[in-house]
């Protein structure tokens, strides 16, 4: 009796494993949308995905947060079910990425601008409020800063904010910011650092004479510990700021908006990062957010067109849409209707050569 039950048990489990093998092999194709990309767009993208999944007959899209650069890299790896359909990005696609895409057979990419986001420099709510200029930011965070003589570059000597600008507090410079895979990093470098960098006349002159050198000076962030690369997880940065009142963090306005009871944004060039200041463009460090779609995948991957429609619908990205509740700054009505029309026609992206 006992003997038989043992044998049966073993036999039954063997049968189960075989059945699993059988059913697993008989899978059908991918029937959901696959989204990767920016952690700044991730909160918006997941909300749209969830609304879309609940409201339609299609499955809920799968969203992974990989950073804009990482997302575009995956996106450009090829056409097919193994590759993402959509990548979120907190900056515009670069020529080099379009080229990689083209090499891998992705020729038609549809760019969808979804709204604006400011990049804020924030610290803990209990810490003193500061007001910075972009020049301050450049001098505090660049790897090399202009010396006394014209054309001279010295290794960044500034240790405290007061070293940079006597009006600032004498606390150690400690900024938690995103890694190079992040679009926020690219945008920050281009808008804030380069903006401050340009204020030095001889560097500005370099822009037309030696563009690469200009970029290297303006875009290189110091690596001596004052700038801490904190990974893609913006929540984590917020938690760290709460713990350390001397530290600043760089992230998107939407995170500031969602965490208003923990951190506050610093004024940049005299403008406070608020919804309205970013919407009307007076806050200097703001950038549009995008997502990119493979045209070849639309109408092939179930639900992709519907997902686009949901994302570009008035109830999502409109003035009163649910994305603005999450901190997305909507585009103007004209812009919205133009982008929505382009998306409907799937107008492929053409990059103006830089």
């Amino acid at each position: 009796m006992a003997k038989k039950s043992t044998a049966k048990l073993l036999l039954a489990s063997a049968l189960i494993s075989l059945t699993i093998g059988g059913t697993a092999a008989a899978q059908s194709g991918r029937d959901y949308v696959y989204v990767v990309g920016s952690s700044t767009v991730y909160p918006f993208s997941t909300v749209v995905a969830e609304r879309f999944g609940r409201g339609s007959e299609f499955k809920t899209p799968k969203v992974e947060s990989t950073g804009s650069g990482g997302g575009l890299k995956l996106f450009c790896d090829g056409v097919g079910v193994d590759y993402p359909d959509v990548t979120n990005s907190s900056r515009a696609i670069k020529q080099s990425e379009v080229d990689t895409c083209a090499v891998n057979g992705i020729t038609d990419i549809v760019e969808v601008r979804i709204g604006y986001d400011g990049i804020v420099l924030a610290n803990a709510l209990g810490a003193p409020a500061v007001s910075l200029t972009r020049a301050d930011l450049f001098r505090a965070l660049a790897k090399a800063v202009p010396g006394d003589a014209e054309g001279e570059l010295i290794e960044n000597p500034y240790r405290t904010w007061a070293d940079v600008n006597a009006a600032l507090p004498a606390t150690r410079i400690e900024v938690l910011g995103p890694p190079p895979t992040s679009g926020t990093r690219d945008a920050f470098v281009e808008l804030a650092m380069e903006g401050g960098c340009k204020t030095v006349p001889w560097i500005k002159a370099l822009k037309s004479s030696d563009k690469n050198r200009y970029k290297e000076i303006c875009h290189t962030i110091r690596e001596d510990g004052a700038f801490v690369e904190a990974g893609e997880n913006d929540n984590l940065i917020v938690q760290k700021l709460e713990a350390n009142p001397d530290a600043f963090g760089i992230f998107g306005f939407s995170f500031l908006d969602q965490n208003g009871e923990k951190v506050k944004g610093a004024e940049i060039d005299g403008v406070e990062p608020t919804f309205d200041a970013i919407a009307d463009g007076s806050y200097p460090v703001s950038r549009p957010l995008y997502f990119y779609v493979k045209k070849a995948h639309v109408d092939v991957i179930p639900g992709l067109r519907g997902f686009l429609r949901e994302f570009t619908s008035e109830r999502a990205w409109g003035e009163e849409g649910y994305l603005s509740d999450r901190g997305l700054i909507p585009m103007s009505e004209d812009e919205r209707s133009k982008v929505a029309a382009d998306v409907r026609e799937l107008k492929p992206l053409t990059l103006a050569s830089e």
Partner: protein, 426 residues
């Protein structure tokens, strides 16, 4: 000199008090050490229950919703997927608070109710289209911030800027409470929904199903293979360097960090065999490799505990080696093997590190329906929720942990019962 020399009894007696003190101190420190573990356990469960118990309740708001055809089907045609059910909820809220005006103030008002309300209305209309045009009184879930306020997790006394719900909203909630339009009920969504970005919609069903599929794969692979390996090693393997090597190897595998198994899964199952990421099938494969050593070690111990006299008696009666093992040793060792398997399964259920490596940390809303659908597992869901910024996820994390620990407890109890009821003392 001689006179001052004490005899040995005096020496002993002089030291006695000191030695007794030492003995007492030693004993007390032993008691303290034991208490540390037990006290931690108490504190741990107490905090967990305190934080998590409220997540099993959810606040609901009573609304009189007019299923106005002009909102739902402005052009005369009702399209369920795109009809503005949220608009109905907004209208109902405006009717409840007629003196709220101004765009931003109204938006604050709308935020009292969860977005789930719209879906609830849609499902009602989908089930019974004749509701169109009628007015019905329904209970809809409140937004997570209202829920937190009601449960006391948000203190309305602190400064307005420090809390996610403003004074006007607090006043509205209070007025709803006065009119008996607010009620807390059992939170069924927690058990029937998949993951969500909205805390009040988020549930653990998806994660539970993911864990379930993974455990099926694990038990189906690890149990037969583990038992077979144990039988071979214990009863048939020739004593040689080779079997020593296998022995060391299995003991080591049982102590290899689980994350290394994750690396193995990533490299072999996903990169090399091109199995889908985030699939319970891959998770189950990794977990079965992880639990295999546990099961083998437990099964070997069970086989060893069968007295040799039984083998000898069977051999003496002319049974072959194989017959001895399968007819006599294995039935006697089976309770031990089953206990080991259940313990291994409970370890697999609580494991999360290797699953992080194979893409099971993703935002997945749909409840998985098979072995290759994208899924998460219960412990991974705990990890994901613990990282979420919304305050309401903190209590839901604790609730998910309570459910997870409940399952583990049941499995361990089952193991104990099997051991108690079927074990034989020799």
């Amino acid at each position: 000199m001689r006179a001052s020399r004490k005899n040995s009894r005096e020496i002993v007696e002089a030291g006695l008090a000191r030695r007794r003190r030492k003995e007492a101190a030693f004993r007390a420190s032993g008691m303290l050490a034991t208490a540390v573990g037990v006290i931690f356990l108490g504190v741990f469960f107490a905090t967990l229950v305190m934080q998590g118990a409220s997540a099993f309740k959810q606040t609901f708001i009573k609304l009189d919703v007019e299923m106005s055809a002009s909102v739902l089907a402005p052009d005369g045609k009702l399209d369920l997927a795109y009809a503005d059910f949220d608009g109905l909820v907004r209208n109902a809220l405006r009717k409840e608070f007629p003196d709220v005006s101004g765009r931003s103030e109204r938006r604050e008002l709308y935020r009292l109710v969860s977005i789930a309300a719209g879906y609830q209305l849609r499902d009602m209309v989908a089930a019974d289209p004749s509701l169109l045009g009628s007015t019905s009184t329904i209970w809809v879930p409140a937004s997570s911030n209202v829920d937190m306020l009601i449960k006391g997790n948000i203190d309305p006394e602190i400064d307005e800027s420090l809390r996610p719900i403003n004074d006007a909203q607090v006043a509205w909630v209070e007025s709803l409470q006065e009119n008996d339009r607010l009620e807390t009920r059992f939170n069924t969504a927690l058990f029937t929904n998949g993951d969500s970005r909205e805390p009040e919609l988020a549930g653990i069903r998806g994660a539970l199903m993911g864990s379930f599929y993974m455990l099926i794969v694990t038990v189906a692979l690890a149990f037969p293979i583990g038992v077979a390996a144990a039988i071979y090693l214990e009863e048939f393997a020739p004593r040689s360097r080779w079997s020593d090597l296998i022995e060391v190897n299995i003991n080591n595998l049982a102590a290899v960090p689980s994350i290394v198994f994750g690396l193995l899964g990533l490299a072999v199952f996903i990169n090399w065999m091109a199995l889908p990421r985030s699939a319970p099938l891959v998770g189950g494969l990794v977990l079965s490799l992880l639990t295999l050593p546990v099961i083998i070690i437990a099964s070997r111990a069970a086989i060893q505990s069968v007295p040799p006299s039984i083998r000898e008696a069977a051999l003496g009666l002319g049974a072959s080696k194989m017959q001895v093992v399968f007819h006599h040793v294995m039935p006697l060792a089976l309770p031990g093997m089953l206990t080991g398997t259940i313990i291994g399964m409970s370890r697999a259920l609580g494991e999360s590190a290797p699953l992080l490596m194979i893409g099971m940390v993703a935002f997945i809303v749909d409840v998985p329906g098979g072995f290759t659908d994208p899924a998460t597992a219960l412990p991974v869901q705990v990890y994901l929720w613990a990282d979420s910024p919304e305050r309401a996820f903190a209590e839901r994390t604790s609730a998910a942990i309570i459910v997870l620990l409940g399952f583990l407890l049941i499995m361990n109890l089952a193991a104990v019962i099997i051991r108690k009821r079927m074990e034989r003392k020799w």
